[in-house]
Subunit: 276 residues, 2 copies
């Protein structure tokens, strides 16, 4: 029995999501921190987490955490809004390495960026009903007015590839009208699929509304976290990006390429189900 | 050790789906066969099956079959296109009671109804890529021209409640244009959510295209099957409809009511995972 050693700075960053959406977060991390190796786990066998019970989501998140720890990661990014909202404390308690969710970075960035404190949040039904962004924004800016809107059609529209499309524009106008009528000056894209809609959403909301991309905010927070914990990779050594999924989803390649912005190499299908 | 007895005609019909979509099939069964008791199992903890590996889907379907058999059903309807396409032979081998999928009834009805044998099939990406309807239609009408189109946005549009909506009409026009250009005279709604889109789809395709509703075709086939197997309930006794889900999905009540067309009573959350 030995105590676990402090992680090496050359160890990779672990990133997990219920599916492939977290690849936009991975992409933002790789763009901002090109020296870091990464291990991505998409729990595609059990996607989506959103409609599942909190207890189920916690078990899945712990299983993903264990998988990443076994892969020798030095920090874990929970690149899934549902898992962050439902299971972040459990992942932190389990991990023994620094853990970052996607809610705090995006929420804080919005609280900081907003001129008037009138902040819109869009996400899946699960993320919005968790009210997790609302809580984070208010913790940084208690007087903020936070207007939340579930946009359940955005994920399938992104997955269909209709990111510049009349149907998507009409859908966005419908979803965003109540927020724009209430005079938001900042809009948080609180879903990992939404960065692909940024150009279209920017046109719908106009120049006076700042868009906060949770994926970019998370990458920026990760950079600060690694610096503060002296975990930045200064070794010059890095492992290639590795990708794991729990089930080879149909159209995996096309969708993954779209979300990641490049080809997905080093892909393996693994089982993380501790009951299996 | 005893041989299992022949099922009683007063025993219920078992219906299962990966989620709640199968409630449209249950609804069609209850409308056509009001004397029959029913047991519905929605495997909401593991929905959707579509993107999962065939082997995984087979295991889930067997677990659902075992659950329904333990509930004493006299016949099983696999009210899930994915499970029908991937696992019907395995369910039949396991069940020991008559089994009906949703593909054969809809495919046969289309083959029979079509004037010119030019048949469109719309469904989820998984159902279309299985080519299961294509095979059934050709088995009944070898000269048929079958044109298949995946419509992945239709399920979320139905779940959003936008069944009479400009966005949905534009989306339907987009999906159906290639089929209409090819001169289909019949269109199979090969997804359990699509019956709710029937009025809108009827306007988009026009009067010259016959719509085949798989849910109604399945109920009609079930009626014939029960008659031919002398299993119709003539006892005057019937159990109330029972509903089981494997995870209490968010918005279950609203969505279930919409799909079933009435309130869902006698609902229980159960586990069917044999590895759990």
């Amino acid at each position: 029995m030995t105590q676990s050693a402090a992680p090496q700075t050359s160890a990779p960053i672990g990133v997990f999501d219920s599916g492939l959406g977290g690849l936009t977060v991975l992409r933002a991390i790789r763009e901002r921190l090109p020296a870091e190796g990464t291990v991505y786990l998409g729990d595609t066998a059990r996607v989506p987490y959103g409609p599942k019970a909190a207890e189920t989501i916690r078990r899945y998140a712990i299983e993903a955490t264990d998988f990443l720890l076994d892969s020798g990661v030095k920090a874990i990014v929970v690149a899934c809004n549902t898992a962050t909202a439902r299971a972040l404390p459990e992942v932190e308690a389990r991990a023994g390495v620094p853990v970052l969710g996607v809610v705090e970075p995006g929420g804080r960035a919005a609280a900081t960026a907003s001129r008037e404190g009138r902040i819109g949040v869009i996400g899946t039904r699960g993320t919005i009903s968790s009210r997790a962004y609302n809580a984070v924004i208010h913790s940084h800016r208690p007087d903020a007015v936070v207007l939340e809107q579930a946009c359940p059609l955005f994920v399938p529209l992104v997955e269909e590839g209709w990111t510049e499309d009349e149907v998507t524009r009409l859908t966005a106008e419908r979803y965003l009208a109540p927020l724009l009528e209430q005079g938001i000056d900042t809009l948080v894209l609180a879903c990992t699929h939404y960065p692909l809609l940024k150009p279209l959403l920017a046109r719908v909301v106009g120049d006076d509304v700042a868009l906060i991309d949770s994926a970019e905010s998370t990458a920026a927070s990760l950079e600060r976290l690694l610096l503060s914990e002296s975990l930045s990779n200064t070794s010059g050594l890095s492992t290639p990006a590795r990708y794991y999924v729990t089930d080879e989803a149909a159209r995996f390649d096309l969708l993954a390429r779209r979300l990641l912005g490049e080809e997905v190499d080093h892909l393996e299908v693994v089982s993380v189900d501790s009951t299996g």
